[in-house]
């Protein structure tokens, strides 16, 4: 007997919770039996979701093809509408994949990545460490690559306390993460410039997005400090003519799908806050008006919902062939208003194993030659790295601080403190973690 999906789900949840409590009675660790039951339930739900998903995907592909010849009309609608979602700026086209250009025989790829040991107040000292991995690979020359890493330890008063927005705060994970992200970027710019100075034609690869959206809503001085340093890096790269790209593997972004959602909206100019299909916006309408609106619903949901839940990568997997890229789109993130001449554009590319998202500043997007170079190099890098740019994965390997390294670091620290007779203490929680008694 088929139980309605929603119902099944709630029954399943209730049962699993009861089991979870019972199952823990004689095991201190993860109760695998309880987990397995929940996994089975999850898979059953997932299968239902997938059928729904396939249908949504077909609709998305159809819509993408439908809008391609009249992408300008869609672009105009985007400009007219007020949505709560991030929209792509359609500047060239919507569809129309570009074939893979050839990579120049001699090219160098610079990449950086960072990793850290977060400050731990349960430890002997509240210092933190940032490790940056540097990669400079030369192709077509046989020259020895540069592969290294540099750790920096931060421990001084002015390093572990920071003043932002009139408040003095002890560094936390977020701040260390932001600092690391900035270092990755500025060090990448410097590495690429140094490589160019040595006579190499170079491209700079950054891991992840170039859009510092996380700065939105941060204290003004904090935001300005990070933006200023980032822009300085962009300025130097632009002046030197070194293309920089941010590569995002398995992107979850939905800008293109959002544009299709807008395309599905029956209104001339959408305004999501006043969406007439939402019950809360239907006050004061008579029965016939309501009926008319209800007819436009998709399975009882608002008219833009058929492509809800699909992301750009899933859609483009159906469109792009290996090596092909989409046209370039303009990002509409609010933070980019502070980027000056370095507004970020993006495209998706089928690198062989997956659809990746490539972000580039405006001056790369507008230079046909640089754009072709970026396209060729990203595919070449992904091919060399069996699906993921080899320079980025090597940078990660250099940067990564593993659990064992962290242990060694704190052991060093403790030993050195003791040898030098410096008073320090570690929290009882930390002590308990190491020596759990019975």
């Amino acid at each position: 007997m088929q139980v309605p999906r929603k119902k099944r789900h709630s029954i399943a949840r209730g049962r699993s919770r009861a089991k979870r409590n019972k199952g823990t009675k004689n095991s201190a660790m993860l109760d695998l039996y309880a987990v397995k039951t929940q996994i089975d339930e999850m898979v059953a739900d997932e299968r239902h979701a997938q059928q729904d998903y396939r249908e949504k995907l077909e609709i998305a592909v159809r819509e993408y093809r439908r809008w391609s010849p009249e992408w300008q009309r869609l672009a105009e609608k985007i400009a007219r509408s007020r949505t709560s979602w991030l929209m792509p700026g359609l500047v060239e086209a919507l569809d129309g994949p570009s074939a893979l250009p050839a990579r120049p025989e001699q090219i160098s790829i610079a990449a950086t990545d960072g990793s850290q040991i977060f400050p731990d107040r349960h430890e002997i000292s509240s210092c933190f460490l940032i490790n940056i991995g540097y990669i400079l690979l030369h192709y077509g020359t046989g020259e020895k690559p540069l592969m290294s890493s540099k750790p920096s330890l931060y421990y001084r008063e002015d390093e572990v306390f920071e003043d932002w927005g009139g408040r003095r705060i002890f560094v936390n994970r977020e701040l260390v993460g932001a600092k690391r992200g900035l270092m990755e970027f500025t060090e990448l710019a410097d590495l690429a410039l140094a490589a160019q100075e040595m006579g190499h034609r170079v491209l700079a690869f950054s891991d992840g997005t170039l859009i510092q959206w996380s700065l939105e809503g941060k204290p003004q001085d904090f935001k300005q400090y990070f933006l200023k340093a980032t822009m300085k890096g962009f300025d130097k790269l632009a002046a030197a003519g070194i293309p920089i790209i941010g590569y995002i593997s398995q992107p979850g972004s939905q800008e293109l799908v959002n544009a299709l959602k807008l395309g599905l909206c029956p209104q001339q100019a959408a305004d999501c806050d006043r969406c007439p299909w939402r019950k809360e916006n239907q006050l004061g309408l008579d029965a016939t008006e309501k009926e008319g609106l209800d007819e436009q619903l998709w399975r009882g949901r608002v008219p833009c919902s058929p492509v809800e839940g699909i992301n750009d990568a899933v859609l483009l997997r159906q469109i792009l062939e290996p090596g092909q890229r989409t046209p370039v789109y303009r990002s509409s993130s609010k933070i980019l208003e502070e980027y000056g001449p370095h507004w970020i554009y993006f495209f998706y590319v089928h690198v062989g194993q997956e659809i990746g998202r490539v972000e580039i500043p405006q001056w790369v997007a507008e230079d046909k030659e640089m754009l072709a170079l970026v396209h060729a190099c990203i595919c070449d890098q992904a091919e060399k790295g069996q699906g993921y740019p080899v320079a980025l994965s090597e940078a990660h390997e250099r940067a990564v601080v593993r659990g064992a390294d962290r242990e060694t670091f704190y052991r060093f620290l403790r030993d050195t403190f003791v040898k030098n007779d410096i008073r320090a203490n570690i929290s009882t929680k930390s002590f308990k973690k190491r020596h759990a008694g019975i």
């Binding site: 400079l136 690979l137 192709y139 290294s148 590495l191 040595m198 080899v390």
Partner: protein
């Protein structure tokens, strides 16, 4: 000195590891073929400064120290420097790989093992195990012909080779003999002495003796 200054002016040097900078400053006068990474009284493991740059099987090596230690290379191996990363087949020649996958050569190391057969003190070469093992990070050099000749004035080291169990003993013996014969420039007196010593060591195992001599003289 000029090379050090040159390196400093390299804008990339800031991004290189400290060891890389130190090594490049050394480049000019570097003559070692290995650096000790594991050491015991009877055996050494050394890392070659370059990939595939180890001395050959059977070569005599000397470890720098107050009492230089003499060893014979009995195993050379190349492996990944990262325990969880293994080399995989790319279907390309080494030249192609150097052009298009340059990073892999940075992730491989060549190391070699040497059997300790003696040392040199104030009096001269001694064919007994040294009182102390070689120190970790000491440099390993190839023995010159002259050093090999001096060390092989007596033949007790042959017994050391024959007495070890974990290595292909006969093969090592043959390789070592070929090295020493070259150092002695094939001197007739040396060949005769070797033959006599071997026949004494191998007792009545005539087949083994003739196989060794035949292959060493080949």
């Amino acid at each position: 000195m000029s090379t050090v200054e040159e390196k400093k002016s390299n804008p990339l040097s800031r991004f290189m590891g400290d060891e890389a900078n130190a090594v490049s400053a050394w480049d000019a006068e570097k003559t070692h073929v290995g650096e000790i990474v594991e050491s015991s009284t009877t055996e050494l493991v050394a890392e070659a400064p370059q990939l595939h740059g180890a001395p050959s099987f059977g070569q005599f090596v000397r470890v720098d120290s107050e009492m230089p230690i003499i060893g014979i290379v009995f195993n050379v191996f190349t492996h990944s420097i990262e325990p969880n990363r293994r080399p995989t087949a790319y279907g390309k020649t080494e030249d192609e790989l150097r052009m298009e996958q340059p990073q892999i050569f940075e992730l491989l190391r060549t190391e070699f093992q040497a059997l300790v057969i003696g040392y040199i003190d104030d009096i001269g070469p001694a064919q007994v195990l040294p009182p102390y093992p070689a120190r970790i990070h000491s440099f390993v050099h190839l023995c010159s012909d002259e050093e090999v000749r001096a060390f092989t004035r007596t033949d007790d080291y042959l017994r050391s080779i024959l007495n070890t169990s974990k290595i292909p003993t006969d093969e090592l013996l043959i390789a070592a003999l070929r090295q020493t014969m070259r150092a002695h420039e094939g001197a007739h007196a040396y060949l005769v002495r070797m033959g006599k010593e071997l026949s004494r060591l191998l007792g009545d195992d005539y087949d083994r003796l003739s196989s060794i001599i035949r292959r060493a003289a080949y």
